[in-house]
């Protein structure tokens, strides 16, 4: 095991990013903490056999995404935080008259982030990797193990759903 692959170095370098990714995908701190622990246990277990065929960061992101996807598949939507209500039917008349201004007025990024876990697991993963981790199509395609063309489609669909969710929460018809 080289110093680059030293477990404590990996924890220090990736823990915050892995947790952030899990939190944005899973939508609650408790789930994100459990997922982060799972991820690092898998990393610790697999590190000795890591052959370096892929970059270590790609390998870590693949583990992270798979852990989150498995958790999302295993848990029902009811386990997500109950305090989050995606549809607030109260609409402002001025906003209704000018839907394209909605996003410009919106300052609550946290609420937008919480909307991410309303997407399908693959869309949530792609949106999180693209926007929060600044990854490109190639990297996302490697991590999600889907063709490059599908990355564009998944991102497009994810954005469309987020846009629809937010407009709906503001009581605006598309």
């Amino acid at each position: 095991m080289t110093s680059d692959h030293d477990f404590s170095v990996i924890v220090k370098e990736f823990a915050e990013r892995v947790y952030n990714h899990a939190y944005r995908m899973l939508g609650s701190r408790e789930n994100a903490e459990e997922a982060t622990q799972d991820v690092f246990l898998k990393i610790h277990k697999g590190l000795i056999n890591f052959r370096g065929d892929a970059q270590i960061s790609t390998w870590i992101w693949r583990i992270t995404t798979n852990v989150c996807l498995t958790r999302l598949a295993n848990k029902t939507k009811n386990t997500f935080p109950v305090e989050y209500d995606p549809i607030n039917e109260i609409a402002d008349d001025n906003r209704t008259a000018n839907p394209e201004k909605i996003f410009l007025c919106r300052e609550d990024h946290e609420e937008l982030a919480r909307s991410i876990n309303k997407l399908s697991p693959k869309e949530a993963a792609a949106i999180t990797l693209f926007y929060l981790e600044d990854m490109n199509y190639t990297e996302i395609s490697d991590i999600l193990e889907i063709p490059m063309g599908s990355v564009a489609t998944v991102l497009h669909r994810g954005r469309e759903k987020l846009r629809a969710l937010i407009l709906k929460s503001e009581g605006i018809k598309l």
Partner: protein
Amino acid sequence: MTCENFQQELNLLLDKGSAKALPDEMQNHLSTCSHCNGYRNSILSLHEQLSLIPRAKPSKGLMNQLLSIETTVNEIPALLSWKYDVKRALIFLSPIVLIFLSNYLPTLVGTLINLGILTAGLVFILTTILKPMFFSRY
């Protein structure tokens, strides 16, 4: 250009980071379509807002737990190894001790001890020779 094409192209440009300067064909469509104008503004804004989402930070407790994974996981085999070695030593030494004692004790007790020696021998064979052949150490 249809609205659907415009929206697809716009999303691709958005991903490439060049959605602010549109090609002529898209610009022409935009000048005649109010729906796509609204769509462009909202999707650009969403794109910008998504890039501004703040990072969620893990608690110190979680960081400590993660850093302790290595110590905890490494300690378990070491502990098992130590216990395993003591067990082997006891099994190996017990027949010698029992044979030694049987020479100095009455017949009945001596017979029981001999049975004990046989049992210990069997346990020794099962745990140290046969078991590792079929099961891993941990």
